[in-house]
Amino acid sequence: MNKTEQMLNEGKAILDQLQAPPELENRLRTALIRTTKKRKEKVRLSVKVLIACLVLFLVISFNFETLAYYGKKLAGYDQVMNGTLQQLNNLGKGQLIGKSYTFKNGVQVTLDGVMLDDTQLLAFLTVKDTRGNVDDTDIGLSSLHFKGFYRHYMAVSGQGFINEEKNEEKWQYSFEPPHFYEKKLGFRFSLAQGGQVEEGEIVFELDRREAVGQTLRIAINEVFTAHQEQIKITNLLASPTQTVLEGSIQGPVALAKDYLLGERIRPLTLEISLLANGEEVAELGGGISTNLNGITFHKNFDALPQNLKSLQIIIESFSADHDVRENVILEKGMAAKNIKINGQNIRITKVEEVGENTQVTITSHEGVILSRVKLNVDGQVINLNKTISDDYKKTPEGRIYHTRTLVFSAKGSNLELEIERLTYPERVNHVVEVPIR
């Protein structure tokens, strides 16, 4: 090989090492979203022509079915629908409603359509404000609900998109799924303005034949232990719009017992991922709730792929807040002291008086937080004023240590740190293989 060839090959080899940066996908997607709106303006005229043609078509052929198919697609929801919902929409799934309500001030709310499966009722709505300040229009998210035969179905989550002219908002809201006997539903919302609340309602009949499809409920009943609690994943619901994992952390009896003993555990985050055919399914949301039935949780993911070959649930970690009530006697200028609470190491490295304050510096693993801590100064309990100088250090083994200084606005000679609550994560790394038939 001569020198020129060698040089060219070398150049190519270096270029071949270049890989598109990970942010490329996001940037391309954003560029496409930005351009969609412009494109829509351009095609507005041709849409008019198309509508005229369709009307003509209708008059001539009375082919209602074909038109109904077109009518079923919801337009303008590209920005708020995820890939799965867009596919369903393109397939013409869902029930078209197209009913509006106009408030006294001219703000118009249109329920364009709904998609229903066993896990959720999705509502697609348009809010129009010709005055151009739709972003200030509050249609009462907290009160948004469907009124059924005897109960209400509340909104669980939602996302919206405001156009550039600020005269139109498109929203997609997820609601609890209505019971099987519900037929007539009232979609209720309110508009708050100038201290007054005006309520609006759109009534429609739910057509279950238009529901997006069957939901598969798979019993998982997998139990694992974290934070000395038995955590159970009870079900996996695979619906055409999403996949939901349901489970419980504490039953009602255990919850009541801990409450009485003052050893309550407050779950904070449960990190679970779902792998379908080895690829991570996008997480859409989730929640943990405590009520008379104990502590339950749900995690929502995108719908599962069509050609499902394998499905794994990976429980990564569980982080919770515990009542601990540990008191530690401190002395100004004392040597570093290690304490262990619920198996978590906390090192008190420095206790000093700075001005009118007492400062306590501690180090712990990342994620371990003294979530309620006080300092008893000469018999007086002082609340934590602030935490300063956050510092994270990574050891060669990959553990991350967090050092910070707690500032209490008092000084004195008898010091006692009162740790009432402690938050810490526990790695679980438990894999559940879901059998696929």
């Binding site: 020129t4 060219l8 270096i14 270029l15 071949d16 598109a20 391309l28 997607r29 560029a31 496409l32």
Partner: protein, 173 residues
Amino acid sequence: MELLDYVDKAKEGDQEALLQLIMAKRDEYYRLAYVYLKNQEDALDALEDMIVIIYEKLGGLKKSQSFYSWSKVILVNCCKRIIKNRRKVVYLDVLPEIADDGLIKNKQHGLEVEEYLQKLNPKHQEVLRLRYLADLEYDTIAQILKIPLGTVKSRISLGLRKLQALVGGEMDE
């Protein structure tokens, strides 16, 4: 799903399909843009411009199987537009220094080829870069540069000979 299915879906306005098409060959696109622009930020800008143009003009693409070569032509045009605009904009913070046009001249990697390429006539530089660095076929280069296939071949041959003369040493074609 086959390439043509994706192209057809993208033609119908399916943004996700278009995105998948580009992402499937993201490194190729990125390297092509990098050959021209020599930095990540501009290369990403060029790719953004490209996807928007493709989205707007894809309806007019008659042969779906030519999607990749067609889109590369668009990418190169986007890169050239950025270079042109770059010449018009002079950033104050780079004014005191002489702009280093050769980021590919990665000193750590000891890449010599750029030093020599830059001494060639721009027309020869471009064909050699497209052929040997971006690894494009002759006909794709012809489409990108809007010149006949024969011209591509002769420019490459002449360019190689000039490069050879600069480098010194033997040359076998």
